[in-house]
Symmetry: C2
Subunit: 500 residues, 2 copies
């Protein structure tokens, strides 16, 4: 009797799961970019059939046996063992969620999204509250099923950031808020107003698109293995090897949303394009976490894109595209990119206050899943936290507790990855600067391939081989810390606002 290679068996089964997931991604891209308006109703059926076919495979006994067979034969610490462990992490989680619970969640979500849209339009939390109650209750059940009694919020965090825990996040956020809050106060106290006119003008869409393509080329995004399309929601999606798609929006009166949007999505795209081809369609072949993904977008958007070296390279190109920039100087543009201005809306926040928005959501989520706050109290809790962290109070629920879509999708535990990514970006940047002494001069010459090479080597090529915490430690020499990020924003903010 022939003994099939257990790893080959596992990878065959896993490959199909990946193919279905990728196809779901393509459906999503299609819907966001090219699907005709009247296609909405029909599209939902396709997506749910694919999701069901994928779930069946993920929880199948056949897959469980294949994983067990690989685990049994693999040397501890080997790639094979890691393949089996990653497969088991995902399949085991799916297996633990009862089918009834999964169905109840799917149903609750579809109702919740519509209710949230209505609630936000009306600025009326009560419209959304019963749906949110139901989602929280179901997610608590899910967390209990998955974690077997550990702190429920940890089971939710783990879905987006494998291995992360509330216990590890609390001190990180504490460090952050303790140092960012006084920084924001000092900015306000300084009385300094930033002159934004250096980036406000008229920048036609088609010319911005040409600039965006030029920037993508410069940072090393392969446009023969990817696309750039306009869409209401900017995102990056890796369909499969050789096909990574970015979507993008811009403003014609302000250069920043388009330029920093393309650097952000381009950073995500470089990660997708750098995933290990040898592990394509295997458990280890995917991006390891949302936080690490976000670290790549933030690194290109902020540490490269808002830095003086990049601006020195960029300015002549801006002049070629827009007469507006003739006579403009880097030293007038740079401060505008480091403006600090507390606001109520997360997606419009600057790089300093952004993390305070995330801290509000982290506080609320852990209290919600720790049973320390009830859904009914969220608007007041939200407003109080905004007062405490940002010194502002929402005028209504639409610009307060109802502003984000995430909770209506039952994506609890997702928000912290934005900050984890921001912190990791700063730490990776610091490590790259240490390893590449010529980094800033190279960037000013438009040579971005050394940096990309460093990221390929230390982040991209590892796929899901190491958990996020271990990946950061291997790449930077130390555990994830808020310090590099704080040092970076404190330095830029002090310079821009002339603080002591």
């Amino acid at each position: 009797m022939s003994q099939p290679n257990p790893l080959a068996r596992l990878l065959t089964l896993w490959g199909e799961i990946v193919d279905l997931e990728r196809t779901e991604g393509l459906l999503e891209w299609d819907q966001e970019t090219v699907m005709p308006a009247k296609g909405v109703a029909g599209r939902g059926k396709l997506a749910s059939t694919l999701a069901r076919a994928r779930h069946e495979r993920l929880v199948s006994a056949e897959l469980a046996e294949a994983i067990a067979a690989v685990r049994e034969g693999a040397a501890p610490g080997s790639d094979q063992a890691a393949q089996a462990a990653e497969a088991e992490r995902l399949a085991g989680r799916a297996r633990k969620v009862p089918a009834d619970l999964a169905a109840a969640l799917a149903e609750a979500k579809s109702g919740a999204l519509a209710a949230w849209q209505q609630a936000r339009a009306e600025a009326r939390f009560a419209t959304f509250a019963p749906h949110l109650e139901r989602l929280v209750a179901l997610k608590k059940e899910e967390a209990a099923a998955v974690s077997g009694g550990a702190r429920p919020y940890d089971a939710l965090l783990d879905l987006y950031e494998p291995g992360s825990t509330e216990a590890a996040l609390v001190p990180l956020f504490a460090d952050l808020t303790a140092r960012l809050a006084p920084l924001v106060e000092a900015v306000a106290a300084s009385g300094t107003q930033i002159d934004e006119s250096a980036v406000l003008g008229t920048f036609p869409a088609e010319v911005q698109r040409q600039l965006a393509l030029e920037v993508l080329g410069a940072i090393g995004f392969d446009l023969e293995a990817g696309r750039l399309d306009p869409a209401t929601h900017p995102f990056c999606i890796g369909i499969h090897g050789g096909d990574t798609r970015l979507t993008w929006r811009w403003q014609e009166d302000d250069l920043r949303p388009g330029l920093y949007g393309i650097l952000h999505e381009g950073g995500h795209g470089l990660y997708e394009q750098g995933l290990p081809p040898a592990w394509e369609r295997t458990p280890l072949g995917a991006a390891v976490s949302l936080g690490i993904h976000e670290s790549q977008s933030r690194l290109w958007e902020n540490h490269v894109g808002r830095g003086r070296p990049f601006l020195r390279w960029l300015l002549p190109r801006l002049r070629a595209h827009f007469p507006f920039f003739v006579g403009q100087r880097v030293e007038r543009i740079w401060p505008v990119l480091h403006q600090v201005r507390p606001s109520l809306i997360r997606v419009e926040a600057d790089e300093v206050t952004y993390n305070l928005h995330v801290a509000v959501r982290f506080e609320i989520e852990r209290a919600l899943f720790g049973g320390e706050v009830a859904v009914a109290d969220l608007p007041a809790t939200w407003d109080d936290l905004y007062g405490r962290f940002l010194g502002l109070r929402p005028g209504n629920a639409a610009e307060g507790v109802l502003q984000d879509i995430h909770w209506s999708l039952a994506s609890f535990g997702y928000f912290p990855t934005y900050t984890l990514g921001t912190l990791a970006a700063a730490q990776l940047w610091q490590a790259a600067e240490r390893d590449l002494p010529d980094l800033e001069e190279a960037i000013a010459r438009g040579e971005l391939s050394p940096l990309l090479g460093w990221l390929r080597e230390h982040v991209h090529r590892w796929g899901s081989r190491w958990r996020p915490a271990e990946l950061i430690e291997r790449a930077t020499g130390g555990p994830l810390s808020a310090e590099p990020f704080l040092a970076y924003v404190e330095a830029t903010t002090r310079e821009v606002y002339g603080l002591a």
Copy 2:
């Protein structure tokens, strides 16, 4: 114990099969229109995983039981019985093909396509011949498995045109060739040369696109429930309700390919948009056959688009788009659209000789599957038939037996549907003229909704409720015949060439 409604059970299972097939369609559209060049390798995996998931469902015992349960309870002749019969036609066929044979065919096809491409580039039949031998042998096996010993070619025809048989096609093609061949000879003997300058000029792509959109709007294609994109291969694909996509190409120096291409694909698109919403995702909800689909494209392309009433409506619009047409007259354009000119390449053929190209392929396919000709003899057989039907002899195999992709895809029995569609288009047009006495005057006024309404009522809304032969009989009052088409082309050709 609850007894689930057997029809609901069948439709749930069938709906998933439809969803997977539709997703495969979307993958194909994506690959032909927007996929980045480097995505090719990764894309194949997605498509084959989906096809496998669909096939598993189609041959499942669960589906067979659901079909049987509906058959048992349904009144003969009812819609329910028809749902079960159509499901069984497709599932039964899939069940009869052994998995090994299906796998061998899939493998043989992928090799054959590459070999055909190379063979055509080299104009060397021997490069393709062994692959074609293998495909024919496997398709004979498939036909035998499916038909249980009936004439094997019938089992292949049935795949594209349910219910059609070689025995029924032979007299149709005999009528056609018997009357078209002398017509073509008479054209040659007339010595008349058509002046094509009325449609040859410079027609910029962007303006042609605007015209195409205007034409689509005029014929009633709903662009909020569809798209138009440029692509190398023009096609129409109905993804699902509310999402029908057309692809299209054009020539900047000749108005015809773009204009008649959009009418052709638009005709396909109107059929897809007119399928019965109540039967969406059910066996009866799909277009009934390739021949009926082609009848819709040919009707709009030829009977509407090449007719004087449409040209009278079109000409002022052409003038608005292209100064070229200022001073142009319908009577100078009309003859150019009815030119008859034997050629070697099917896809470039006029509406008269096109069917002679198809007749060549029909003769070859039935001889091949009847065992009367060997693959090795195909080049000579092909050249002889072109001599006989079109009076021309290919200079090499690339413009002869290797010109079509179909056989490399193992699509034997597909070609006849082109002619079936052409004949059906003429017969439907005749019936519509009879039922709508004001038809031509309405078209000249740009009122195309009465015609579309007639097609919706007699063709589109029936989905797969009636076999093609019955559909035609119900719509036109008689069985499919070559006579309406022959009467149409004989009349136009005699007028254009001044024949007796």
